[in-house]
């Protein structure tokens, strides 16, 4: 997750490496221990998934139920708002039209409308992808600039870019709050995109500069000799070479923006609120509805787990930049 670490570890890249020989029994034992740790790590995640499929009474049973009858109630509760009614009222409604109506009615409730979850989730998507795109776009340009040109005060500028990540987010939020209030950017997707872009761009510049430095400049120079302008060479030669680095950077920016909580909590409200400040406050009628919270958590974490597994090589590259180079 850190550019400087990434760059430092790239020192490792030039050294050839093969694993120290170890006995097959040692290997077997090592594997066992690692797998045991991984399984312990998985327990909370599996429990989240399991809870999302429990009925509310099952979710608060004592001792905790490991085997239970799956129910979609958590997901129904996540996406709807409901109102409690008397039994007579519900009997007079006639038969339930849909499966989710039926689930809700068993609890003496009727669905009164959709919940805000989908809005918040979409905000997360828009703000996450929007800021990632901008941060990677700006970062690519700046990284190329720093990598290839003699920029006055280069080291100072690079340090300045990095130092912007040292403040606690709450400390940053104080002036941003005042500034956005004046500019009318409070609680807007645009405001959040700009803010996340600013936070991510320092990471983006650092990671991408490392990647750009690795691309031999002879390629561009050859292109320039062939009659390309600098910009054309950048577009047609450097960018395609940097694709893997851009991808790795994009994932990190996206993960940050997707997971961010403090700014979203303080700077957004009804319009631009993202999912992280919303999920903790999902409540059912008159009770903290754990299956609904778990359902929201599952849907929110799923894309990230998916990305992690699917793009693990780029992720590893990003974190330990080049250390695990093919």
């Amino acid at each position: 997750m850190s550019a400087a670490a990434a760059s430092t570890t790239s020192a490792a890249t030039t050294k050839a490496h093969s694993v120290v020989e170890s006995s097959s029994r040692g290997k077997w034992l090592a594997g066992l221990l690692v797998v045991a740790y991984a399984l312990i790590t998985l327990i909370p995640l599996v429990w989240i998934l399991a809870t999302s499929l429990k009925s509310p009474p099952d979710s608060i049973s004592y001792p905790p139920k490991v085997i239970f009858e799956p129910s979609m109630e958590g997901y129904v509760n996540l996406f709807t708002t409901r109102s409690r009614q008397t039994e007579e009222y519900i009997e007079n409604l006639g038969p339930a039209e849909t499966w989710y109506d039926e689930i809700v009615r068993k609890r003496n409730m009727v669905i009164v409308g959709p919940s805000r979850f989908l809005d918040r989730y979409m905000n997360s998507v828009v703000i996450g992808f929007g800021s990632t795109f901008l941060a990677v776009f700006l970062g690519t340009l700046a990284a190329y600039g720093f990598s290839r040109f003699k920029v006055p005060l280069k080291d100072d500028l690079l340090f300045f870019i990095l130092s912007t990540r040292m403040m606690p987010p709450i400390a940053v939020a104080i002036p941003i709050y005042l500034m956005y209030r004046e500019l009318g950017l409070s609680d807007t997707a645009l405001g959040m995109i700009l803010l996340y872009t600013a936070v991510n761009v320092s990471l983006s510049v650092w990671l991408l500069k490392g990647f750009m430095d690795e691309i031999p400049r002879e390629y561009e120079e050859a292109a320039v000799v062939d009659g390309y302008t600098r910009l054309q060479a950048f577009w047609k030669v450097v960018l395609p070479q940097a694709r893997a680095g851009i991808a790795a950077t994009a994932i990190f920016c996206l993960i940050f923006a997707w997971n961010e909580y403090a700014f979203a909590l303080l700077l957004t409200s009804g319009n631009a609120q993202t999912a992280p400040p919303f999920i903790p406050i999902i409540i059912g009628e008159g009770g903290l509805d754990w299956p609904a919270v778990a359902a929201g958590t599952t849907l929110f974490l799923l894309p990230i787990v998916f990305f992690t597994v699917l793009l693990r090589n780029q992720l590893l590259r990003g974190i330990t930049f080049g250390a695990v180079r093919k």
């Binding site: 003496n108 992808f129 956005y180 209030r181 995109i193 409200s269 009770g287």
Partner: protein
């Protein structure tokens, strides 16, 4: 890699989509109002009631309901940012000082006069608590919307079991009945703590212990008020030493800690309304303190509703008093649709709307509802509600209320839950904290 190209393209599109969406929203908002409140039973009832308003006026109602633990944070932040999210806000009683002073709410006097809405139609205690600032002057910033106070719920079915009643009487020398004072509350709590009932271990009491917002303060003050607690010298405003840390206050705080230590379920260290409800509805506790607002829901609950639950007013120790809850409805000064919002208030103030509001589970403050001789019979808790509202006391409603509240949250949670120091020290420190706040504000 192609996947990434697609992602980035999608991102670029989404940025443009945001701009497009926001312009669309502006157009769609023509005949719409947004009402902001807490997410709880009464809010659902209000949403149901609001359908009549839409039918009458063609104005669509949107709702932004936020859970209590985030309620103050979110909406005070919203007001301070001059946000346009809420046209109407049902804000907590303690906010009125700040909202009036800093101009977050529209002053309603002229509007009331023009529309012939009289504050005499609402119970005086509610007008005083939810509408006026400075306190007790005829300057109205809200219409009393939801009366509320802190009350108690108990398991009537458990209390009725002969074997338990007998054992209880033998042990404590009084009947297992609705407690008449806090000592009896503690006896009952102790009695049920760890007891097996129907094969399940149950516990004594659900009391408020929440740290983050206002929970533990609301719980602790309900004990302190019963011991005769005063915030300040009645003759000299803001004179707190000897009042806030009076021997009675210390005794009440100590008593509240002893309740926390003896009679709450495991892990009840950060509990507010929802946690108490959970503990009660799942059959974990014999009694809970909670707002009257939840009582209609409890009476209808599929597990503990009907005859299984009984209700009572906050028990007196030295005086009869209850912690005030409840809210007034205000028009937000930053709204672009103040006229429509006022129209809603005008509609909401009508006698028949107020009657329907009560029937749906909202606590109307209208005299036509409360003074109806039949009112105490309309619900098992209606009579208790009237009794409670007779003796309500509220936390500071000063513009600096949030600072005062945060200080108290810290001091009492440090003592009651974390067990640091003594009750006397906690309240002494509280006096210092509060004095500093009032000095900063220029009131001392």
């Amino acid at each position: 890699m192609r996947r990434f190209g697609a992602c980035l393209a999608a991102a670029a599109l989404s940025v443009t989509a945001v701009t497009a969406m926001s312009t669309q929203e502006v157009q769609a908002q023509d005949k719409e109002l947004t009402l902001c409140w807490a997410a709880w039973d009464p809010a659902n009832a209000l949403a149901q009631l609001g359908k009549d308003f839409t039918a009458e006026t063609g104005i669509e109602m949107n709702y932004e309901f936020v859970p209590w633990t985030n309620f103050a944070d979110r909406f005070i932040n919203e007001l301070n940012s001059g946000g346009k999210l809420c046209d109407l806000l049902i804000g907590d009683s303690q906010w009125i000082g700040g909202s009036a002073t800093y101009g977050h709410y529209v002053k309603l006097n002229d509007f009331f006069e023009k529309e012939g809405i009289s504050m005499d139609d609402f119970a005086p205690a509610t007008v005083h608590a939810y509408s006026t600032w400075p306190k007790g002057t005829p300057n109205y910033w809200a219409l009393p919307a939801m009366g509320d106070a802190l009350g108690w719920v108990y398991r009537k079915d458990w209390f009725a079991r002969p074997e338990l009643r007998e054992e209880f009487k033998a042990k404590y020398g009084h009947e297992l009945e609705v407690p008449k004072n806090w000592n009896e509350v503690k006896n009952i709590g102790e009695f049920f703590q760890g007891r097996e009932i129907d094969g399940k271990t149950v516990y004594g009491l659900g009391i408020y212990t929440e740290r983050g917002s206002e929970g533990i303060t609301m719980g602790v003050t309900s004990a302190m008020y019963s011991w005769g607690f005063e915030y300040e010298n009645p003759d000299k405003p803001y004179d707190m030493p000897g009042y806030v840390n009076s021997p009675e206050a210390v005794e009440a705080l100590e008593f509240y800690k002893s309740l926390y230590d003896c009679c709450t379920p495991p892990g009840h260290s950060d509990a507010y309304m929802v946690a108490n409800l959970d503990a009660y509805k799942s059959g974990q506790v014999a009694m809970q303190m909670n707002w009257f607002a939840f009582f209609p829901g409890i009476a209808k609950d599929e597990d503990v509703g009907g005859d299984k639950s009984g209700f009572f007013v906050n028990p007196a120790q030295k005086v009869a008093a209850s912690t005030l809850g409840g809210q007034g409805i205000s028009v937000v000064a930053y709204s672009d649709k103040k006229d429509m919002a006022l129209e809603y208030i005008k509609w909401f103030a009508k006698s028949d709307v107020q009657k329907k509001w009560w029937s749906l589970g909202g606590y109307s403050c209208h005299v036509d509802v409360l003074n109806d001789p039949n009112f105490p019979n309309t619900a098992p808790f209606a009579g208790d509600f009237l009794k409670a509202m007779d003796g309500v006391k509220d936390f500071w409603q000063e513009p600096t209320y949030a600072e005062l509240l945060q200080a108290m949250q810290k001091r009492v949670h440090d003592y009651v839950v974390a067990g640091n120091g003594t009750a006397q020290e906690a309240l002494d420190k509280l006096v210092v904290d509060w004095t500093e706040v009032f000095e900063d504000d220029g009131k001392l």
